[in-house]
């Protein structure tokens, strides 16, 4: 009896596998595609080699003054010499360990918040503690720490402080306004809608002007606010309106049955919200919230216009230094890289979350 023996499967023809097939399908599938491929390669050829030359090959790395920047490329000596000013602003050098410690604590808080296994109570506690600890540590005046005025804070440190305080403080305010907007109580609802739409309808810069010029008029003489605190008030109130809208999106995504079931269990309004509705709504809203945090992080650069020295304005100021004139390209590129890294990491995180939460069957 003949036994049928399974023959080994043949591989697809050479033209349909490996790199050749990939190139054929993805780059050369039609005359138009061939044209586009050539066009893109040409664009890359125009952009990449001069950039590599400027960034690395012709760049100057060694030395400590502008005179030693003899190559045609970037003068990275400038960045290296001014690095501390870009990061800490005018924060006194002997106290910079406090700034480092604060930034380290910030990184730790972010790490705790991102890791899934950490219990929620620890996450929330560490996030809420961060602004308080940061401000005590940075300004000092307690525990034998020297007092450092906020006008000495600057650079990346200031950018991070503004972003962190803005994100953390706007969160509870935003939740209150979101609940207010969804509330059945007409007065509370009207006030919330009015606030949210007012803030979302105007540019941040007008809010910052309001906070820096008009706010002092609102309070009695002698009750003087620090410039930084005024900016923080403006940014927090602005961000709260956007957080509120994101959370409202989450609230609307919760099925009615959840509201009804929690009511049927006899929970009070605040218990219903705290234990049943908000945990679900915030989870749905996280990708959008991260999106609005990215916007906030980019928007912190606007404090430059009201005269604070964040990273961008510190670098702009330094490029006007008489010993280092004509290096604004290097300065702006440095700022761009720092902003880009932070924002890119945040947007990656939000995309991953979206994928994790998305159960929709889409192409």
């Amino acid at each position: 009896m003949a036994v049928y023996e399974l023959k080994p499967t043949k591989q697809p023809p050479l033209s349909e596998r490996g790199a050749i097939a990939w190139i054929r399908h993805n780059l050369l599938s039609s005359p138009f595609n061939i044209l586009f491929t050539i066009l893109s390669l040409w664009i890359l050829y125009i952009i990449i080699p001069p950039m590599v030359k400027w960034f690395v090959l012709d760049a100057n790395f060694v030395g400590n003054s502008k005179a030693e920047c003899t190559g045609d490329g970037a003068c990275w000596i400038f960045i290296r010499e001014k690095f501390k000013i870009f990061i800490y602003g005018f924060y006194p050098e002997s106290e910079q360990w406090r700034a480092n410690l604060t930034m380290g604590l910030g990184a730790l808080t972010v790490a705790l918040a991102v890791i899934d296994r950490v219990p929620r109570s620890i996450k929330i506690a560490s996030i809420l503690m961060l602004p308080v600890v940061a401000i005590i540590l940075l300004s000092g005046g307690y525990f034998g720490l020297a007092y450092i005025e906020t006008n000495q804070w600057g650079g990346l440190l200031l950018t991070l402080v503004i972003a962190a305080v803005g994100i953390v403080l706007s969160f509870p305010i935003g939740i209150l306004f979101a609940l207010g907007r969804q509330s059945k109580l007409p007065i509370i609802k009207t006030l919330s809608v009015f606030y949210i739409e007012l803030i979302r309808g105007v540019p941040l810069i007008t809010v910052l002007f309001m906070a820096s010029v008009v706010l002092p008029l609102f309070f009695p003489e002698g009750m003087d606010f620090d410039k930084l605190i005024r900016a923080l008030i403006g940014i927090t109130l602005f961000q709260a309106a956007y957080v509120a809208e994101n959370i409202r999106g989450g609230l609307q995504a919760i099925p009615r049955g959840q509201y009804e079931a929690s009511e049927a269990m006899g929970l009070t309004y605040w218990k219903r919200m705290r234990l049943v509705i908000l945990p679900q709504a915030i989870k749905v809203a996280i990708p959008n919230l991260v999106g609005s945090f990215i916007s906030l992080f980019k928007d912190t650069s606007l404090v430059m216009i009201i005269g604070l020295f964040d990273l961008l304005s510190m670098v702009t100021l330094t490029t006007n230094d008489r010993d280092w004139l004509g290096l604004s390209t290097e300065g702006f590129v440095f700022v761009a890289i720092i902003y880009w890294i932070f924002n890119y990491l945040m947007s990656r995180y939000s995309k991953n979350l979206e994928k994790k939460l998305d159960t929709n069957n889409k192409d």
Binding site: G201, V202, V213, V214, I294, Y339, W340, K362, D363
Partner: protein, 383 residues
Amino acid sequence: MSFLRNEKVRGILYQLITIVGFVLFIMYIAQNTSDNIEARGIKSGLDFMQSTAGFDITETPLEFNHTSTHWDVFKVGLANTLIVSAFGIVLATILGLIIGVARLSSNWIISRLANGYIEIFRNLPILLQILFWYNVVLASMPSVRQSYNFFGSIFINQRGVYTPRPIFEDGSWLIAAGFIIALLAGWLIYKWSTKRHDETGQEFPVFLVNLGLLITLPILAYLIAGSPVSFEYPVFKGFNFQGGRTFTPEFLALLFALTIYTATFIAEAVRSGIEAVNKGQKEAATSLGLTPTQSLKFVVLPQAVRIAIPPIINQYLNLAKNSSLAAAIGYPELVTVFAGTSLNITGQALEIIGITMLTYLVISLFVSAILNWFNKKMKIKER
């Protein structure tokens, strides 16, 4: 005290507390403000709008001179805001559509390039981009004498871009009339062809016919009226270019940054709109025997547009709001001249910031009204 446990009673109580707290807060602020204003000797009220501003503005689409009032400053600022926003919206839409479609291209290298563009420019603060264009790119342009020269009609140098300016002579109205007639005819053709398509299923090349009308009718009118349009070219005289149209570096830096930044968001909206159309819809279209073009035209795009347009309109609004960052480079729009210079001269912060905010708010409300109208019109009508 059991009635305090009633949610209705509690609701009323909460609202009472809120309203009383709110009113007290407002009264407190109002009292302090009036005290402070008196103590500092600042005037109040809107009389300052009628007083002479006494400064010059570099770009004035409306008439403006040293005798103009703060009300004129406001009008010029608003006009400049609207001008740069209009230019920005048109350019950002074109660029965004191109990038968004390129992002979905089957060509790997094109879609990677588009993705790179989006990821780079979306993640950089717009203020940084404005400053970069202004301080690095445009400042590195040659001096006036060494201007880049394109065909002897367009000049680029440190002081901006000089282009020819069209001059409309008598009879130019015929061109506008031709354009309007083409628009009307296009609308009628669209109505007629949709109706015929609904009744008989016959198709009509609406887009091509309308495009042809839009191009030929104004040209025809131009020829009939005897070529009434001429161009005034910029000419180098003395120390600078005279005549023609000038685009200042401030305007260009702002326009480029707004366009490039907003285009990334428009591209993302286009992409997510097309991707959001359910896979089953495309499969169903194919199984009905529609060609890929027909499936795109009748099945995918109508659904994608419904999803993509609202975020795109929101981006237009963001662009208009972001134009306020011109304050950093001194393009004379609303925030720079009115909330900046006028405020410094008069010192009436409360009124000026209030008016500025109100203006943006009106623009926003106008845009949301358009958005609501669109959403209502586009709502899926279920039978």
